[in-house]
């Protein structure tokens, strides 16, 4: 049987690619990104590489796809009221300048000839810190719930570092209505600047760092953190797509094919947040970060295949977990709606 129709020619990269694989990658990353509020470059790049993309093209193509995919998720999150645009715009100032600063540090390290090793180990340390923070926060919240202390209107929270940071009253003070935060404008600017420096330094989009920073340091509820971070990823992704295209490292055909899968995936991931509790999202996020960290360690010790297998299995398992949340929640909602209608008719 002739299977050539399953392969699409990429004119810039000069390779034939199995296009259903591209749709599947787009779909999976759409689901995960919409649920966690991040781009997911750490998942897409190895996937594209496995499909046959040269690494130089995998990164640029990945960034452009992330920008388009985040746009789809942001539209959906926006309807739920999960995007704090004012906070997003204020944070963009810090993110952009931070990313440039981080990139300069990398160039300086390149001149010293230490870049690869340093970047990977710094990445591992930060991923470990994020995972530790997320899990210990969960256990603290569980303890608090058992003791019945500090129950706010949104439920129990573990770490509340943002409350201390909100006490810093450096003008101008700003009210971020969607997040329900009143703080100094310098807080989101400095937090996004620091996460931006790290993102630029590590060569990643930054969603992995910004999402927990929005929760723990700025005080945004988990759902708002997810939506607002996607808005940031969208803007920085478009900027990244432009600069990578100028460097000639993008395959536009692949971006379009991946976006068709992402369009469906992003809806599922985003709607799933409606049926998940904040800590459910945080825990799944912590697990994803942990697997990402292990895969980087494996890569560092040249276990490339094991690293790719780990990443792909993580994507598969988390994707199925999110889909289960979405379909279970949606089915329950539709059943409840039907029961209410029947009750009304009976009355």
């Amino acid at each position: 049987m002739d299977a050539s129709w399953l392969y699409l020619y990429m004119p810039i990269a000069g390779v034939n690619i199995f296009w259903p694989g591209l749709v599947l990658i787009g779909y999976s990353v759409g689901v995960i990104g919409g649920f966690f509020g991040m781009g997911g470059a750490w998942m897409v790049t190895p996937g594209l590489n496995i499909l046959g993309f040269p690494m130089a093209f995998a990164i640029g193509t990945d960034i452009a796809h992330i920008a388009g995919k985040s746009m789809i998720s942001t539209i959906r999150h926006s309807k739920f009221g999960n995007v704090d645009y004012k906070l997003g715009v204020v944070m963009l100032v810090g993110t952009m300048s931070g990313i440039e600063c981080g990139a300069q540090i990398v160039m300086w390290l390149e001149r010293l000839g230490q870049v690869g090793k340093v970047v990977r180990w710094v990445y591992v340390v930060f991923l470990l810190l994020i995972a530790l923070m997320v899990f210990s926060d969960y256990f603290k919240a569980r303890q608090k719930k058992k003791l019945g202390v500090d129950v706010g209107e949104k439920g129990v929270e573990g770490f509340t570092w943002y409350r201390t940071l909100h006490k810093i009253k450096i003008p101008p003070m700003m009210h971020f209505k969607a997040s329900g935060i009143y703080c100094s404008a310098w807080l989101p600017i400095m937090v996004s600047f620091i996460t931006g420096v790290l993102a630029g330094f590590l060569g990643i989009g930054g969603g992995l760092l910004r999402m927990p920073a929005l929760i723990y340091f700025i005080g945004a509820p988990t759902h708002i953190a997810v939506g607002t971070d996607l808005f940031e990823v969208m803007i920085s992704g478009l900027y990244g797509a432009f600069t990578y295209t100028l460097k000639g490292r993008i395959e536009l055909v692949a971006v379009f094919v991946m976006l068709t899968g992402a369009a469906i995936g992003a809806q599922i991931g985003t709607v799933a947040t409606k049926y998940a509790k904040g800590y459910g999202i945080r825990l799944a996020f912590g697990s994803a970060v942990l697997c990402c960290m292990i895969s980087i360690i494996l890569k560092q010790f040249k276990f490339e295949t094991s690293a790719a297998v780990l990443i792909l299995s993580t994507i598969g398992i988390i994707c199925l977990y999110i889909m289960a949340i979405m379909f279970k929640g949606a089915a329950q909602e539709l059943r409840d709606k039907k029961a209410q209608q029947q009750l009304r008719v009976g009355a």
């Binding site: 976006l259 947040t273 409606k274």
Partner: protein, 98 residues
């Protein structure tokens, strides 16, 4: 006394934020890779884009960003339209952390 102090802190933080731009001015330029798109096996709009990639990379970059954004928006609104028809309430949600 409190007010001048807060102005001073604001000024210092603005200065700190502008630092990266100084660093940027000091940095060297990254080298680009040269790749030529193969226009023999594509037709129509893809051929136009591939030609553009070879001849005017700036224009190609603008097209890349515009097309990605346009496709993202179109697919977003299209899927939104489809999801509205599932009967789910997609305009409200409760925020529960634990």
């Amino acid at each position: 006394m409190k007010k001048p102090l807060s102005h001073l802190v604001t000024l210092a933080m603005t200065g700190a934020l502008l630092l990266p731009f100084d660093a940027l001015a000091a940095g060297g330029k990254a080298t680009n890779i040269v790749v030529v798109a193969d226009t023999r096996r594509v037709t129509g709009f893809l051929k136009y884009l591939s030609n553009l990639y070879n001849t005017d990379v700036w224009m190609f970059a603008v097209w890349a960003v515009v097309l990605t954004a346009a496709l993202g928006c179109t697919l977003g609104f299209l899927m939104d339209f489809v999801m509205e028809r599932t009967g789910l309430d997609l305009k409200s949600r409760k925020i529960i952390e634990h």
